[in-house]
């Protein structure tokens, strides 16, 4: 598959989003609710201590990543899992496809997983005649609508219940309703049939544990448990940095992640899957395949941007981001939106495609402040902007302006000349009926330094 390198049209996408009143309303309601819940949930714990510990554990993993991958592989194999290693998206798709086709699987149920979005797995399976149904309610809605998730935790955050009512009526042939309870029942009934018919389940993992070879899945709907226990075959796909050293670390993150995500002290369901079903056990897949995906993680780990790999996908940075709140996830045209998405997308997709995203922030710092694992998002974005400039992904006008700026800040004479020129520029620009030109501030008649004399 050739890599798409056309720059993401973030400004055009966001202009469209800003003109969509229903979308804006849905975003404000949802992100404000998430922010309120998170704030309440972290005020009842010593958050600064917790995040310091969380950051330390994640750094420990990144430091010794190759060893942890090895340790996890050993432990998981010992408990009956078959571990595969995929270097990139296409390799991962191939591995999953060959496992499924090897078992003659035509119907798959999926638990919510961002990494399978990252590698466009569903599309690939569809091409092979394998039906993969999303079973997280938000993901199900998004899949029915033929869209991609617009938020890493709440994929259908951009859709109102009226939208969903219309969608269900159209796609599932049920009477229109906008009552969430009714809609949930409709989805549950449709999904129940899919669960029972599925020959395999595909999941991601919120975490994996090197010590025990376990994988952990947090959900609020219980669908993750059904996906991983009902079908006899379970395929788990996740990237290597999801590993935690010890089971005790999982216990810690089981309390940390939901607080930062939805503001819950714990998620409603936490499935810890350690290997295949053993004789005498009532649940669990008979065959478990784990696809450990790199897809650029080793490269990022070895760069100055390593700390983005601490990310545990809680989405607190999305919810608190004033830009995300205005335009929603689809404007970013990438698997991962918001502040963590800006960094990760640039590193995964490359500067050529992703550089417009680097403008999509005021560097207000709200993201760095809420991050439960202390990813220095503002610093990483600023460093990526530096790289963007070095690589030449800037407009000629900006380059000239910055060259002039560089000269002016180093010379009081040129600086004063610049101030005088601004006066002329302002006189011209105020007649242009287009922002930002018509928003340039009016220079004072006399500068402060002259008035001071």
């Amino acid at each position: 598959m050739s890599r798409d390198t056309a720059p993401i049209p973030f400004r055009e996408n966001s202009a469209r989003a800003l003109n969509d009143a229903a979308l804006r309303h849905a975003l404000v309601v949802a992100t404000d609710a998430f922010v309120r819940l998170r704030t309440a949930a972290v005020t009842s714990i010593p958050f600064e201590d917790w995040r310091a510990r969380a950051s330390d554990i994640r750094m420990e993993v990144l430091e010794g990543l190759p060893q942890y991958v090895e340790r996890f592989t050993e432990a998981a194999t010992k408990v009956g899992a078959q571990v595969h290693y995929a270097v990139d998206a296409s390799a991962a798709r191939e591995v999953v496809a060959s496992i499924l086709t090897g078992h003659g699987v035509r119907k798959v149920v999926k638990a919510k997983s961002m990494v399978t979005e990252e590698i466009h797995l569903n599309h690939h399976l569809e091409g092979l005649g394998i039906e993969a149904v999303e079973t997280d309610l938000g993901e199900y809605i998004v899949q029915l609508a033929g869209e991609t998730p617009s938020h890493i935790l709440a994929p259908a955050i951009h859709r109102s219940r009226k939208d969903v009512g219309k969608l269900f009526a159209e796609k599932l042939g049920v009477p229109y309703s906008e009552d969430p309870a009714v809609l949930t029942k409709v989805a549950r009934k449709a999904l129940r049939e899919k669960f029972l018919a599925a020959e395999a389940g595909i999941s991601g993992a919120n975490f994996a544990v090197a010590e025990t070879g376990s994988i952990a899945i947090f959900t609020n709907e219980g669908n993750g448990r059904m996906v991983t226990t009902l079908p006899r075959l379970h395929v788990a796909v996740f990237t290597i940095e999801k590993i935690l050293p010890r089971l005790a670390d999982l216990a810690f993150f089981a309390r940390m992640l939901p607080r930062s995500a939805s503001g819950q002290p714990l998620s409603s369901y936490l499935s810890i899957i350690t290997g295949t079903r053993k004789p005498g056990e009532a649940t669990g897949a008979e065959e478990l395949h784990i696809v450990l995906l790199d897809n650029g993680r080793t490269r990022i780990r070895d760069s100055e941007f390593r700390e983005i790999l601490k990310c545990i996908r809680c989405s607190a940075c999305l919810n608190v981001c004033p830009v995300f709140r205005k335009v929603g996830g689809h404007a970013y045209a990438s698997t991962y939106p918001g502040p963590m998405g800006i960094v990760l997308t640039t590193l995964l997709d490359g500067m050529e495609r992703a550089h417009p995203l680097l403008d999509a922030t005021t560097l207000c710092g709200a993201c760095s402040e809420v991050c439960p694992v202390k990813v220095p998002l503002v610093n990483l974005i600023r460093a990526l902007r530096e790289r963007k400039v070095e690589m030449g992904f800037t407009s000629g006008a900006e380059k000239h302006a910055m060259t002039a700026f560089g000269a002016a800040v180093g010379s009081p004479f040129l600086f004063r000349t610049g101030q005088a020129m601004w006066r002329v520029l302002w006189g011209l620009a105020r007649h242009v009926d287009r922002p930002p030109l018509n928003r340039l501030p009016r220079p004072a008649a006399d500068t402060f330094r002259r008035r001071l004399r």
Binding site: F10, R11, S14, A15, L18, P322, V323, K326, V327, L358, D359, A360, T361, T362, L363, C364, G365, A366, S368, E369, R382, L384, R385, E386, R387, K388, V389, E398, M402, T403, F405, G406, A408, V409, G410, S411, P412, F415, Q419, W422, P435, P436, R439, P441, R442, P443, A444, D446, T447, F448, R449, R451, L452
Partner: protein, 240 residues
């Protein structure tokens, strides 16, 4: 006590009356204010946009003008943070500047921060009037950790009423280059901020950063609001 005033390029070019207010307030508290000649801009716009070479040039020039022997007062949270937090980073690989950048960083204060921590201006019994609300700008709040000082100053003004701005520390959408690159989002953010300001019923919005204030004033004007927008130095100078 003697201080060096870094006026900031925004105040110098667009808001000289704020600079004069800063001087008046500091002098009122017995501070000798020196305005070093030859100062330009802190380099923040270049630093934020990824032009580290130009930002370093600004730092180099700043450090040739300000030595850090006396406290450096900056009437902007964003510029103060540039000097305090980013200069040492920018200069860490320039041996001739490293030490000076560290020293200057340690002796740089945002205006309201200095007034409260060093001059106890909030205990001076100043008099104000009208209903005031306050926008907490991003770098001031999150990079410098100056959250309470401006509020303490405003609350101390006898005769005026302080009302809290809902979501006071949510970004107004200025963001320096952001305003130029994504003006539609910037304006939408500023509009929401303006709505919040109007909802407080305050007659005056106070802030510590003219970048944000300019942006919010623009949004207030667009909606025909009569709320005045003032730098905290102006409010305090009027209260002397």
């Amino acid at each position: 006590m003697r201080v060096q005033l870094f006026g900031t390029c925004l105040v110098d070019t667009f808001f000289p009356e704020t600079g004069e207010a800063v001087v008046r307030v500091l002098r009122h508290f017995g501070v000798d204010v020196v305005y070093p000649k030859g100062q330009t801009c802190c380099g923040k716009p270049a630093d934020s946009a990824g032009y580290s070479r130009q930002a370093r040039k600004a730092a180099e020039h700043f450090l040739s003008i300000f030595d850090g022997a006396d406290p450096i007062i900056v009437p902007s949270g964003s510029c103060a943070s540039m000097i305090r937090n980013h200069y040492p980073e920018l200069c860490k690989n320039v041996p001739t500047l490293t030490e000076r950048a560290e020293r200057v960083a340690l002796n740089t204060y945002e205006f309201s921060e200095f007034l409260v921590r060093h001059l106890k201006a909030h205990e001076a019994g100043l008099k104000g009037n009208g209903r005031l609300t306050y926008h907490a700008s991003c770098q001031l709040t999150r990079e410098l950790g100056v959250r309470t000082e401006p509020v303490m100053l405003l609350q101390s003004l006898a005769g005026s009423e302080f009302v809290e701005l809902p979501q006071a520390d949510r970004c107004c959408g200025f963001g320096g280059v952001f305003m130029g690159k994504l003006p539609e989002i910037s304006m939408s953010m500023a509009d929401e901020k303006a709505e919040m300001v109007i909802s407080t019923g305050a007659g005056t919005l106070v802030g510590c950063d003219h970048g944000c204030l300019m942006n919010i004033a623009d949004a207030l004007t667009r909606r025909g609001s009569t709320v005045r927008v003032k730098h905290i130095a102006q409010v305090l100078a009027e209260a002397l």
